[in-house]
C-alpha cells in the first residue's frame, strides 16, 4: 500500500469518532455506568447467595415444617414466606442461587479453559489437528444445546456434578469455535510473524502471544453465555433432570412452583425474577465489555 500516513497519537479517522459511544453526561464515573451497574448487580447477587446465608440467621432450605407450609411473605421468621412443604422461600432462593451460579460458573470455566485451549491449538497448529478437532466438535455443536444437555443428563441422572458435566458438553465446543476463530485471525497478524522470526517456539507463542490476545474475547463471550447456561440449567432442573429436589436451584424451584401456580404464584415469580435479573446483569456486562474492548 502506498504512503498511508498514520496519525502519530490519535487516529482521527472519522470512523473511530462515529463509533465512540457518547456518554450520557460528562464526568468520570458516568461514562462507566454501562459496566458499573451490571457489575454491581452481579456482585450483590453473589454476595447475597454466597455470603449472606453464612452470616445471617436464616431458616434451613430443606427439611421444613409441613405445618408451616404456604405462609405468605412477611410471615414471622420467613421473610418471603414458605413453600408447599414448609421450606423457607428466601433461604431456598439464596441457596438455590448459590447452586445455579456455581453450576454456571463451573461450566463456563471448563468451557473457557478446555474449549479455549482446544480451539486455539486447532487453529494455530492447523492441518490434521484442526480437521480432527473441528469435525469432532462440529458433531457436538450440531445438536441443539438443550437436546444435548438433556440426553446426557438423562443418561447420567440428576445432581450438580452431572449437570455440570452435561452442560460442559455444550459449552466446550462453543468456546472452542470462538477461540479458533479468534486465533485464526490472530495468526496472520504481523506481530505473530515478527515473534516467529525472533525464534519464539510454538508453545510460547500460544501461551504468551495467543492466549492474552484472545482472552478478552473469550471472557466477554463467557459472560454472555452465563445467562444462557443458567437458563439451560434452569430448564434441566425444571424438567427434573438437573439439580435434584429437595436441593434448591432456581430452575427446580420454578418447576416446583408451577405445580401450584394459581394458588401460590409467588413461588414461581420469586425464582423467575432472580433468574431474570442474573441473566440480564451478565448479558449487560458482557455487552458493555465487548463494546469497550472492541473500540479500543
Amino acid at each position: 500500500m502506498a504512503n498511508v500516513p498514520t496519525d502519530e497519537r490519535l487516529p482521527l479517522g472519522l470512523e473511530a469518532l462515529a463509533g465512540a459511544p457518547a456518554p450520557a453526561r460528562t464526568g468520570r464515573w458516568a461514562g462507566h455506568l454501562d459496566v458499573g451497574v451490571p457489575a454491581a448487580a452481579i456482585v450483590l447477587l453473589f454476595a447475597a447467595c454466597f455470603v449472606w446465608p453464612t452470616l445471617l440467621p436464616l431458616a434451613k432450605p430443606v427439611g421444613g415444617n409441613i405445618f408451616e407450609a404456604n405462609l405468605g411473605p412477611l410471615s414471622p421468621g420467613h421473610l418471603l414466606g414458605t413453600d408447599t412443604v414448609g421450606n423457607d422461600v428466601l433461604s431456598r432462593l439464596l441457596y438455590g442461587g448459590r447452586t445455579s451460579l456455581e453450576t454456571a460458573l463451573a461450566v463456563n470455566l471448563i468451557g473457557l479453559f478446555l474449549g479455549g485451549t482446544i480451539g486455539a491449538l486447532a487453529a494455530y497448529l492447523g492441518g490434521a489437528v484442526d480437521a480432527v478437532a473441528m469435525r469432532g466438535l462440529d458433531v457436538l455443536i450440531a445438536f441443539p444445546a438443550l437436546v444435548l444437555a438433556l440426553a446426557i443428563a438423562d443418561s447420567l441422572g440428576p445432581g450438580q456434578g452431572h449437570t455440570i458435566l452435561a452442560l460442559s458438553f455444550f459449552a466446550v465446543p462453543v468456546f472452542a469455535r470462538n477461540a479458533r476463530a479468534a486465533t485464526l485471525r490472530l495468526r496472520e497478524l504481523t506481530f505473530m510473524t515478527a515473534a516467529r522470526l525472533c525464534g519464539t517456539r510454538t508453545w510460547r507463542m500460544l501461551l504468551r502471544h495467543i492466549a492474552p490476545n484472545i482472552l478478552p474475547q473469550l471472557l466477554t463471550f463467557g459472560l454472555l453465555s452465563m445467562g444462557a447456561i443458567m437458563v439451560i440449567e434452569g430448564a434441566l432442573s425444571f424438567l427434573g433432570l438437573g439439580i435434584a429436589l429437595p436441593d434448591p436451584s432456581w430452575g427446580n424451584m420454578i418447576f416446583q412452583g408451577q405445580q401450584s401456580i394459581s394458588a401460590t404464584p409467588l413461588l414461581v415469580l420469586f425464582p423467575s425474577a432472580f433468574l431474570f435479573v442474573a441473566v440480564l446483569a451478565f448479558n449487560l456486562l458482557g455487552d458493555a465489555l465487548r463494546a469497550r474492548w472492541n473500540v479500543r
Binding site: M1, E8, T190, T193, A194, L197, T200, P212, N213
Partner: protein, 332 residues
Amino acid sequence: MSSPTGPLLAVRDLVQEFEVRGRGGSRGGVVRAVSGVSFDVRPGETLGIVGETGSGKSTLARAIVQAPRPRSGSVVFRGADLARLRGRRLLEARRQLQMVFQDPYASLDPTWRVEEIVSEPLVAHRVGDGASRRSRVAELLDLVRLDPRRYSGRRPRELSGGECQRVAIARALALSPALIICDEAVSSFDVLIQAQVLNLFERLRVELGLSYLFIAHDLAIVKQVSDRVAVMYLGRLCEVGPPDAMYRRPLHPYTLALLASIPEPDPNRERRLHRTIAGEPPSPIDPPSGCRFRTRCPRAEGRCAEEVPPLRVVAGDRQVACHFPLEQEASP
C-alpha cells in the same frame, strides 16, 4: 560459512505463488507473486528494492525469511540455504537476519510491554539471564534513542507510531544481525517522522556495520539509503544498478515511467506528461506472457510476448531485463 568476499545474501530463482480460491463457483487461480528473482546483497551494502502494489516485493521479503517458505529457489544467507533448513537449524541460520515491518503497531504484541518485546529474541535463543537481558535491552533502547527508564514499562498503545517503530528496530537489533530487511518500514509515516526513522537507519548502519535490504515504493527514499537499487514489476526484476546512474539514464522503460511519475517539490519543473504510462498494472493472477511489462510498454514488439527477457549484466554493475532497453549499447 561464506567467504569474506562472497555475498551476504544470495537469492537465486526465487518463486512464490499462492492459490486463490474461486468466489462461490467462479474460477480460482494462482497468484504468481514472485517469479524467478535472483540477486545478491554484499556485506556492508544496502540494496533497495522498489516496486508498486502487486510487484511482489513484500512477498519476496517474506519468502526470504521463509515465512512462508517459497515454492522454489534458494536463499543462501552466510553460506547456508535457508530454503533447505528446518526447525532448530533454520532458527540458528536465520538468527542474523531480521526484519522490520511496515505497520509499527501491528508488528508489536499489544499485550506485551516494551521491555518484553525487545528481549523476545534473547529469550527465544536463550541468550544470557534476566539481568544481562535487562541491560542489553537498555542498551538497545539507547541505540534507537528511546530512554529505557521512560519506555521499558510501556505498552504499544501508549506510544506513537514513530516510537513503536523504534521499538521494533531495537528488537531487530537484539541478536546483532548482519542483515536487516526493511519492508516498507517508513511508508506509514508522515514526512518528518519518516525522516527521523531514515536517519536512524543510516546511523545504525554506520555504527553497527549493518547491511540492509530496503523495500519501498518510493524511488527517492530508496535512493537515499541504497548503494544499489533493484526495480521490480509484477514478480520479476526489471533493472538493477547504482541509483545515480539508474535514475539519470534508466535502461528499462518501466524505470523511466516510474521516474516520470514522481512529483518533485519544484513548481518550476515541467510535468513530464508525455512519459506517464497508460493503463493499469495487470493482475498477478494472470500475468502477461513473456515480458510482463509489455502491455503498458511503448516499446513492446512481438518478441516481448514470446520470450521472457532474462536479467543480464550490461555495463559494469548494471543489469536489465529487456529485449529493447533504452540505451543502444545495452541491447543484445
